[in-house]
Subunit: 239 residues, 2 copies
């Protein structure tokens, strides 16, 4: 059973304003929920429509598929929906490779990028304040549990980049060929918005531009920001 | 206005069976539709809810947002929905780098991979018969017009791979480090299913295995098939 108050609280978490107010967020899908339970994150409450191994009994309640449909943020709800406490915000880490996102809007792209940071051992993900919220349910779903293993901070990116002395690489269409570039280990890589790329105020802070050469026809659209991030992080790590 | 018969025809195209029967498919979204119009593909009919430059007048009709909602396969319909004739099937191309997909199921992944083939100039995309249909409306949307520029064939992959003398590279978790591998220019790269990887019958045909090293924690899930494809195609092209 889901009480009226719980239903109200949990559906409110589909919105960033209420996630921040309550310091809670939603994760959907058994695989991702189990991975998050296996991290430092603390569950607030878990709802399931069928028995699944590994869920903490004292925090889990069984509900009907109809109730799950009301709680879920997905078109096709999963069998598990968990509500987690947000972790306390930590100070930004300063060492190693840092990835910075300037106004990335698509939840699926941010989720994929968080997963890439986890794979490539990127210590710190910085998001501009207009980047999509990493506790958006669609982002959480796309991260598949990586959310708990990547440190993410929302910052005034222009300000942050103005106060660092690391090299700042920016991915732009007319940038230097990444295959021919020497990439520093201790650096910041900036990726821009899906339609507009890196904004002009941030571009002024970039010290080295990068691009991925195109081998196909001229007509080809730019690469998707998540696939471009995959290729560039691979280039930073491979050498 | 949309007639009853048109509505029936177009909504039937949400299903593969009827796409094949009528040899028609749907593309949604102004950007993708305009790119497809700028290719060899022939439009059958186009529906719009507001004026958009570049649509052929003789094929385009204005409809209401309510009518678009009925035609659309999307949760949030776009302002343009076009129906195109499927191109005639061509023989597979034999030269250069060929990408083969073994049972890739997610439409977004296939769409992203088609866009990557276009970017990296992959001459031929081969899909196993159980791979998602490339004319699925969600695939078409994710390709952003690249669909018209990449040759795609659905084949009996086991059979095909058994009859080629090119090197066959397969991406698997325990494969050889791609950064240390010498990659042939004239080759086939096989990518597997989102959950299960490359199936055992296909794996028998693979002559060289590849993997992307993990730099993060051991807990990290495998990379998404589209991001792994991005990194591997980049590796084939960079050298």
């Amino acid at each position: 059973m889901v009480s009226k108050n719980e239903l109200k609280l949990i559906t409110s978490l589909h919105q960033k304003k209420y996630r921040n107010k309550h310091q809670l967020f939603i994760a959907e899908g058994a695989k991702g929920v189990l991975e998050l339970l296996d991290s430092e994150l603390q569950p607030y409450k878990i709802f399931k429509t069928r028995d699944i191994d590994g869920l903490p009994l004292d925090k889990t309640v069984q509900i009907s598929a109809g109730e799950m449909k009301k709680l879920s943020s997905l078109k096709t709800p999963s069998e598990v929906l968990a509500v987690f406490h947000m972790p306390e915000e930590k100070n930004e880490k300063g060492e190693g490779l840092i990835l910075a996102l300037d106004d990335v809007r698509d939840p699926g792209n941010l989720g994929t990028i968080i997963r890439l940071c986890d794979w490539f051992g990127v210590s710190q993900l910085l998001c501009s304040e207009n980047t999509v919220d990493c506790y958006n349910p669609k982002v959480v779903q796309a991260t598949m549990g990586s959310l708990a293993r990547v440190q993410i901070n929302y910052v005034d990116l222009e300000n942050y980049l103005g106060s660092t002395d690391k090299p700042i690489y920016g991915a732009i269409m007319e940038g230097g060929n990444v295959y021919d570039s020497t990439l520093a280990k201790d650096a910041i890589l900036v990726m821009g918005n899906e339609s507009n790329g890196i904004s002009s105020s941030i571009l002024k802070k970039v010290t080295n531009t990068l691009s991925i050469p195109r081998f196909g026809s001229r007509q080809t659209e730019s690469l998707n920001v998540a696939t471009a991030t995959a290729i560039l992080l691979s280039e930073f790590r491979r050498s």
